[in-house]
């Protein structure tokens, strides 16, 4: 299982090695351009950043922001930790993983949550019609990600021993083909790959009934140095995201259009998944609980090096910018 986490760990190490060298460069770049760059995972959960960027909310709030798309939160947060970008979007899992390696970064805001971003899509032809049918099946997922974590929870919740399921680690872009080709029986993957898988499977595909046992958070993380040096810009960034959040709530059709363009998906995808996401700025206690739960899961499942300890995740949360921008959004006791 540890191998599933290797890419992430390697990335973390590279980030640690390059940290010193890149810190100066990124700091110089940040300072020179006075621009915040955000590595944005291409996901429906990133919609607030898409909206703020599209509607120039960043500029309106007085902060220059440039986004850089990346595939998956692990990659995004790696760019942030490597100093390539100022901030990164990711679910809480990459944060938890990297927290075991370094402590020079922190989550500054949760700007979206979802209980249904990760779905279990199965092939009917593989004899899967209910969660209990997964036992003995091959289930593809991105190892060490929130999708993997969800898969474990899903199996346990439904009384299926995870060890009875053959987890096939695949990259997100490989999953759809694998499911379609029948190399795996099912997959636990997040959007938009779940949707694509279902499209690919057509009548053969089934989304197993989801247990709302996991709330995925989508967060914006930054290095401590940047948080300390650019707190004012981060506050403006928070305000721009809060505006975007209100825009999404108040103008869902326009927000959907923005999302459709950025995701390069059709309206079918939007319609199928729109209700699965909750775009709300927050920093709350469940984030810590989820991080801790994932850490315990990773330790228990052996995804982390032996001897690792669950860190104090409060140290990986920097609530000041959000508190200054949206005081009510911060309910975390810190």
């Amino acid at each position: 299982m540890l191998r599933f986490l290797r890419p992430a760990l390697e990335c973390a190490r590279c980030a640690a090695l390059c940290a010193a060298a890149c810190a100066l460069a990124s700091a110089a770049a940040d300072g020179a351009a006075q621009e915040l760059t955000i590595a944005v995972s291409r996901s429906s959960l990133s919609l607030p950043i898409y909206v703020a960027e599209t509607l120039d909310y960043f500029k309106a709030e007085g902060v220059a922001v440039r986004t850089r798309e990346c595939l998956g939160g692990h990659r995004c947060i790696k760019q942030m930790l490597d100093g390539e970008v100022s901030l990164a979007t990711s679910s809480e899992m990459p944060v938890m993983v990297n927290s075991l390696e370094r402590a020079d970064f922190a989550i500054v805001a949760t700007f979206a949550t979802s209980k249904r971003d990760v779905k279990l899509v199965a092939r009917r032809s593989a004899g899967i019609a209910a969660p209990g049918d997964l036992a003995g099946k091959r289930v593809a997922t991105m190892a060490g990600t929130s999708a993997h974590y969800f898969l474990d929870l899903y199996l346990l919740f439904n009384g299926v021993d995870p060890r009875s399921v053959a987890v096939v680690p695949l990259a997100p872009e490989q999953i759809v083909a694998a499911v379609q080709q029948g190399t795996v029986d099912a997959t636990a993957t997040f959007e938009p790959f779940a949707h694509r898988a279902m499209l690919a499977l057509a009548q053969d595909g089934i989304v197993l009934p989801g247990a709302r046992i996991y709330t995925e958070t989508f967060n914006l993380s930054a290095r401590r140095t940047l948080i300390a040096e650019r707190e004012g810009d981060l506050v403006k960034l928070m305000r721009a995201l809060a505006r975007a959040q209100r825009f999404i709530r108040e103008q869902p059709r326009q927000a959907q259009a923005i999302l459709r363009d950025r995701m390069r998906e059709d309206q079918g995808y939007i319609d199928a998944t729109w209700k699965d996401f909750d775009y709300r700025m927050s920093l709350d206690q469940p984030l810590i609980s989820t991080l801790e739960g994932q850490a315990r899961w990773a330790l228990r499942e052996g995804h982390l090096p032996a001897g690792s300890r669950v860190p104090n995740f409060l140290h990986f949360v920097a609530p000041e910018p959000l508190r200054k921008a949206e005081p009510a959004a911060v309910t975390l006791v810190k």
């Binding site: 346990l156 919740f157 009384g159 739960g293």
Partner: protein, 771 residues
């Protein structure tokens, strides 16, 4: 826009705002209640969730059925509370929706936890329990977080709604304030300000400034009122002009009538006296309206008139008389009593009771004085007419009687001449002649009273005549009567144009009456002086014109004259003396003479203390002495004298007298025959004696015809009644002299000697007569 419309709009706006405010208040109240309920639900959820957490931990630790039972009970309560809150919220807050979902999510987790417990102690079961507990805690925390967000949302909503409520209240207050201010400004600008201007205009009109005009620019009620006020001002202006014109006419009429006005407010007891009325009373015009008592104290009514005034006013106010018009006396401010005529009318109430009385007053003193003067003059005129009538009657009788007496005296004189001295016939004829002479004297006195003028007047030195008369009567006074004379008051040249004999008669008669009044004891004071009158002087017999007068005063200390007698003392034949003592012609004669002289007589008498007669005679300067009237009878030299008289006896008597005097008389009883004889022989006659009063031709007419034939012919006219007309007619006709009958030889001798140019005597106006 009409004020009514404006008010309706303002009222509608106010009602609208009030409804909005009311609706807002109701809405806010409703929302507050909803928020309170939501807040209660939120708190209930918080308590329930906390209980669920506790019970989850209890169950995890002890796995007791009680904890599970309570968990489920609390869960059911939580679900119900959330659903109830959801039902109340429309639209539901996302956090509440999320809570609902999370509540739903809790139960499967708990079911799985119980299931895991039941699975025993396998590692899978253990992992499942741990996972379920972890998820339950996490989900519960998320539920808590959602509840917190909902609670925050409720608070935010409350804040917003409170803010909205505040805004509504503020806006409503602002709107109301704006409305009130706007309405106040509108009322001020469109209502009060025009109303104040209207009021100011009305006040100005009330003060009499009718030139002021109101604004009429608006088409509302105030504009209508302004136009109405302007129209009223125009009407008042026209009415005032008419009133002023009327008042001017009235004032001119009142001023022209010289009348003052009074207005008595009976109810208030005040009296208005116009300035003119005050001036009429001699007062300086002051406060016109005062208590009536003050005016009554100022204008004192004559004591003799008070009852008249009181009775007249009382009778009028009672309605007994139709008009009030009184003439009475009020003491003028100068202290004199003035006559006023007061007219008035009363204003009565519906029961006929007078409550106001007004009228005019006029100073009629001049009229009253004029009336008194007119009455006096009327009395004087009646007296003069009476005296004239009596004089005419007496003169006529005396004239005829004089002719008879002339014959008696003529023939008696002849008998005397023929009768021897001491004979019986001579004694008889002497007695008859004496009686005839008394009769002649009486006739002369009657004629002197009755004639209104004499022929020719001369200047009489009045002081010399007075001395002569007083010398004559001094010795004839009774023993107890003392004569006190004072003639030093006149100069020697003081004279009267008249006849010395007349002066004699005046003094003699006045002294005789005075002596008679004093009987046998007293003082007879006679004084003479001159006086100059600057104004008319009213005396008993006439009104004397201004000028210089010789004033003769004859005063006695006798019994005085009773007032009722004073009015008649100048009447002929009126006497208070015993029968046979007085003829009643003395004062009549005096009056006739003095009137003939152009003077007058004043009488002052006090019964028991005496009487003073003051005779005023026009003063003239006198230088001549009285002519000597007595002397020897001048006889004729055989001249032929024609004598003409319609009385044959007088013709015969005349012929005999002329013959006795040495003339050749030719008598005619007809003037026509005489004129024919004269025409036949104009040069035959040296002189003519002719009567004036003849039936065929008067003496004057005869004289004219005769002088036409013989211009140098001397003509002497004889008449028993001489007045100014006769004298003038005689002079115009060329008569040389007028003789008054009855004639005696001396008169004829003197006159003929004078006209024939042979005697020493000049023309004498009339013959001398015995007094």
């Amino acid at each position: 826009m009409r004020i009514r419309t404006q008010l309706l709009l303002a009222t509608a706006t106010a009602v609208g705002v009030a409804l909005i405010v009311l609706g807002s208040v109701l809405y806010v109240t409703q929302r507050s209640a909803a928020n309170l309920r939501a807040e209660g639900d939120s708190q209930e959820i918080a308590r329930t969730v906390a209980n669920l957490l506790t019970l989850t931990q209890e169950y995890t630790l002890y796995r007791g059925e009680r904890a599970a039972e309570q968990w489920r009970a609390r869960y059911a309560q939580l679900k119900q509370t959330v659903e109830q809150a959801l039902a109340r919220e429309s639209p539901p807050h996302p956090a509440l929706t999320e809570m609902q979902q999370r509540v739903v999510d809790l139960l499967p987790l708990y079911d799985r936890l119980e299931e895991a417990h039941r699975d025993g102690a396998s590692s899978l079961a253990q992992r499942r329990r741990e996972l379920m507990v972890e998820r339950l805690v996490s989900e519960t925390q998320e539920l808590v977080d959602a509840r917190h967000r909902w609670a925050t949302a409720i608070m935010d909503r409350q804040s917003r709604e409170q803010f909205v409520a505040n805004v509504i209240v503020f806006v409503a207050a602002a709107v109301l304030l704006t409305l009130i201010v706007g309405l106040a400004l509108l009322i001020r600008r469109r209502g009060l300000a025009p109303l104040e201007r209207l009021q100011a205009a009305a006040a100005a009109i009330q003060r009499g400034d009718l030139a002021v005009r109101c604004e009429t620019g608006t088409q509302d009620e105030l504009g209508d009122t302004g136009r109405a006020v302007n129209a009223m001002a125009e009407s008042l202006l026209a009415a005032n002009a008419a009133l002023r014109e009327s008042q001017e006419r009235y004032r001119l009429a009142v001023d022209g009538s010289n009348q003052g006005l009074w207005d008595w407010d009976i109810a208030r007891g005040t009296m208005y006296l116009s300035p003119r009325a005050q001036l009429l009373l001699g007062l300086a015009p002051g406060t016109p309206t005062r208590p009536r008592r003050e005016w009554n104290a100022i204008q004192t009514c004559h004591p003799d008139d008070r009852a008249l005034v009181r009775d007249a006013i009382s009778a009028y106010l009672r309605g007994a008389t139709e008009h009030l018009e009184i003439e009475y006396r009020i003491r003028h401010a100068s202290g004199q009593w003035h006559w006023y005529r007061c007219r008035g009318v009363a204003v009565r109430d519906e029961r006929g009771r007078p409550y106001r009385m007004a009228g005019s007053m006029e100073d009629i003193s001049a009229r009253k004085d004029a009336e008194a003067e007119r009455n006096r003059l009327e009395r004087q005129l009646r007296q003069a007419q009476k005296l004239e009538a009596i004089g005419t009657l007496a003169g006529g009788i005396a004239h005829d009687f004089n002719n008879i007496l002339a014959a008696i005296l003529g023939y008696g004189e002849m008998v005397q001449n023929e009768a021897g001295e001491g004979t019986r016939i001579r004694r008889h004829i002497d007695a008859a002649m004496s009686a005839a002479l008394r009769a002649k004297s009486l006739v002369e006195r009657i004629l002197a009273f009755s004639r209104a003028g004499t022929g020719e007047r001369v200047t009489v030195p009045v002081r010399a005549v007075m001395e002569e008369v007083l010398d004559g009567i001094g010795g004839a006074l009774p023993a107890g009567v003392r004569l006190q004379r004072d003639l030093a008051g006149v100069a020697d040249d003081a004279g009267v144009l008249g006849d010395a004999t007349q002066i004699h008669q005046v003094v003699l008669n006045l002294c005789a009456n005075a002596t008679h009044a004093m009987r046998s004891d007293g003082v007879l004071a006679v004084s003479l002086d001159t006086v100059t009158l600057d104004d008319d002087l009213v005396v008993a017999t006439s009104t004397l014109a201004p000028g210089r007068y010789v004033r003769l005063r004859v005063a006695d200390t006798g019994s005085g004259i009773e007032p009722h007698v004073l009015e008649r003392i100048f009447d002929p034949f009126f006497t208070t003396k015993e029968v046979g003592v007085g003829t009643g012609l003395g004062l009549s004669l005096v009056h006739g003479i003095v009137r003939d002289l152009g003077g007058g007589i004043a009488v002052e008498s006090q019964v028991g203390r005496g009487t003073t007669f003051t005779v005023y005679m026009p003063w003239v300067r006198c230088e001549d002495r009285l002519p000597t009237v007595d002397g020897p009878i001048e006889r004729g030299g055989g001249e032929t004298v024609m004598i003409v008289d319609d009385e044959e006896s007088l013709v015969r008597l005349g012929e005999e007298m002329l013959a006795e005097l040495g003339y050749e008389p030719v008598g005619f009883v007809s003037a026509v025959q005489a004129l024919a004889a004269f025409r036949a022989e104009p040069d035959r006659f040296d002189a003519v004696l002719t009567d004036e009063a003849m039936p065929e031709m008067s003496g004057s007419e005869f004289t004219i015809e005769a002088l036409r034939l013989q211009p140098t012919l001397p003509v002497v006219l004889m008449t028993g009644f001489v007045n100014a007309a006769v004298t003038a007619r005689a002079q115009e006709s060329g008569v040389a002299e007028v003789l008054v009958k009855p004639l005696v030889s001396r008169d004829i001798a003197r006159s003929l000697a004078a006209v024939l140019g042979r005697g020493s005597a000049g023309k004498v106006a009339r013959a001398e007569r015995e007094p």
